[in-house]
């Protein structure tokens, strides 16, 4: 497809179980972001991938959270031993994020529709 695709769109899991969320970015986009959004709140940065550089993991809230990305393709966000506080919408975004002749280039980020995670 032409946009960012996330799956599943909804996930209900029992406390203590592991979950894996998937993001398919727009083809050719080197940058990929994961955000968490609790109900009625803003975007909470989790992790950022840029090409083959080391990811910026500074937003991951605990060691239960991890994310992988192979090259410039699919990314998975894994939450181990889920807690009720993990319930939120997890949003993925991708963008071109490169330097063009000393200028930032078009780095608009495109978002997926998100995965709504409910931990019961």
């Amino acid at each position: 497809g032409a946009g960012v695709s996330q799956s599943p769109s909804n996930k209900v899991t029992e406390k203590g179980k592991d979950v894996e969320l998937r993001c398919d970015p727009i083809s050719g986009h080197t940058a990929l972001y994961w955000y968490r959004q609790r109900l009625g709140q803003g975007l909470e940065f989790l992790i950022y991938f840029q090409g083959n550089s080391a990811p910026d993991k500074s937003g991951l809230p605990s060691d239960r959270f991890s994310a992988e990305r192979t090259g410039e393709s699919v990314s998975t966000l894994t939450i181990q031993r889920t807690q009720q506080e993990d319930s939120a919408v997890y949003l993925c975004a991708s963008s071109l994020a490169y330097v063009l002749a000393g200028w930032g280039g078009n780095t608009e980020a495109f978002f997926g529709q998100g995965t709504r995670l409910t931990v019961v």
């Binding site: 609790r38 330097v99 978002f111």
Partner: protein, 115 residues
């Protein structure tokens, strides 16, 4: 625990009036800024952008103003309509090294339009 810092400020505007949503950004080296609109149950969507060599840019019913002196960005919506009710996020683009840029999002403002 709850992230108090992420609770959204709310702006209530009468239908037909103009709306102004403000955003303070953090880094004077940021050179590209974007406003996003997020409707209920959807992901954020691009509204308008502006580069640091400009101080104003206009779109359809929207205008973005950039004041680099005080690191302030604003989004003006003319003749606000019920369909404008949403959460609005600003984002700044910052060089993150190794030839790449990273977008950083503000906390967001919830706009409620009163019919």
């Amino acid at each position: 625990g709850e992230s108090v810092g992420l609770h959204l400020p709310t702006l209530s505007v009468q239908e037909g009036d103009n709306s102004i949503i403000n955003c303070a950004y953090s880094n004077s080296a940021s050179d590209y800024f974007i406003w996003y609109k997020q409707e209920s149950g959807k992901g954020p969507q691009f509204i308008i952008d502006i580069r640091s060599n400009m101080d104003k840019r206009q779109g359809q019913r929207v205008t973005v103003l950039l004041n680099k002196t005080v690191k302030h960005l604003s989004l003006q919506i003319a003749a606000t309509q019920p369909g404008d009710s949403a959460v609005y996020f600003c984002a700044e683009n910052l060089y993150s090294g190794a030839g790449s840029y990273q977008l950083t999002f503000g906390k967001g403002t919830k706009l409620s339009v009163i019919p």
